[in-house]
């Protein structure tokens, strides 16, 4: 291995994991004073960098920031819709009712005239109902998400509150 390659490996820090590379580096360091000096300097640099890692956040600053953050978190809870809005529940109920009313005569005709089993009719109803719900779902979700401050975890919150 050449000196620039050794330098890169020493800086990379993951050379100790491979025994083959470790042995090669040790051999190189024994015969190359320049790289040996580089390795020593690098070690000192890392020790010095560890000195800087002892810096901590000032207590006054952290406590003030923490209290502000907590109040912000509290505000976001207060403005959070705690349950599904009444208008969404009403609309969903109406949709279900309309679907059933609309599907009922069709199913009745099918049952009386073509001799279709009622369970088939029920499945058809459910399919239609789900199709309508899916049609409106993006709109409902978008409105709800905007109101819930774009939170996609609203359901977790709703479970926790209940």
């Amino acid at each position: 291995m050449r000196c620039p390659q050794i330098e890169r490996i020493l800086i990379g820090r993951n050379w100790e994991q491979s025994t083959a590379i470790y042995a090669q580096i040790q051999t190189h360091l024994k015969r190359c004073p320049q790289c040996r000096r580089f390795a020593e300097e690098l070690q000192i640099l890392r020790i010095d960098a560890a000195v800087l890692a002892a810096t901590t956040a000032p207590e006054a600053l952290s406590s003030s920031v923490l209290s502000k953050c907590k109040s912000k978190l509290q505000e976001s809870i207060q403005s959070f819709p705690r349950q599904i809005p009444v208008w969404v529940r009403t609309c969903t109920g109406l949709l279900c009712l309309l679907t059933m009313l609309w599907a009922y005569p069709v199913i009745k005709d099918l049952v009386t005239e073509n001799n279709v089993h009622p369970s088939t009719g029920l499945v058809v109803t459910l399919v239609i109902q789900n199709a309508i719900m899916l049609l409106f779902a993006p709109l409902i979700i978008r409105i709800f998400r905007d109101r819930a401050q774009k939170s996609q975890y609203w359901f977790l919150h709703a479970f926790r509150r209940n």
Binding site: R8, L42, D48, A49, C69, K72, I77
Partner: protein
Amino acid sequence: MEPSDDELVYRIRIHDEEAFELLFKRYKSMVYRYSHYLTLNSTEAEDLFQDTWFRVVKYLPSYGKIESIHAWICKITSNLYRDLLRKKKYQRILFKDKPYTSVTSDENVENVVLEVKDHGRKTEVRIEMQRAIALLPYRQRQVFILKEIEGFKLSEIGQSLQMPLGTVKSLHYRAVRHMRNELCDLQFKG
């Protein structure tokens, strides 16, 4: 037993204040150090520290999957610092202010040393290290702080700074070489 980062994130997402406090205590020093060594100015570092945590509160509940929370927090700090630099640049252009002094200028390096003395940390190593960090180019400085001071993995640095792994490796190599050259005298004095 201390809760894991993932658990804390999950709890914060359901607006658990206690979990946020734990996360804050766990990473406050990291955020402060990163802000401090990036800006090399106490006032700016405090502003950056505060804004970072405000953003964490605002976006953590609605953010998608987070692989590493400390890398994500550092990403916020880096973005805020980049905005700060941009703002300074625009101020200079718009208001024809005095020329923008990057932290690599001699004047700022002196400020760094004075601030350190004000805080009572007069060790030569610390001062020289800060002086050398101040002389590093912006991107090298980010990588050096995260790798050598905070002990991040290179992949995490890539996530934080939105850089490919190769770029991170190269910046780290150049930063270490730069620091070594700057600190050569100090090492051989000691």
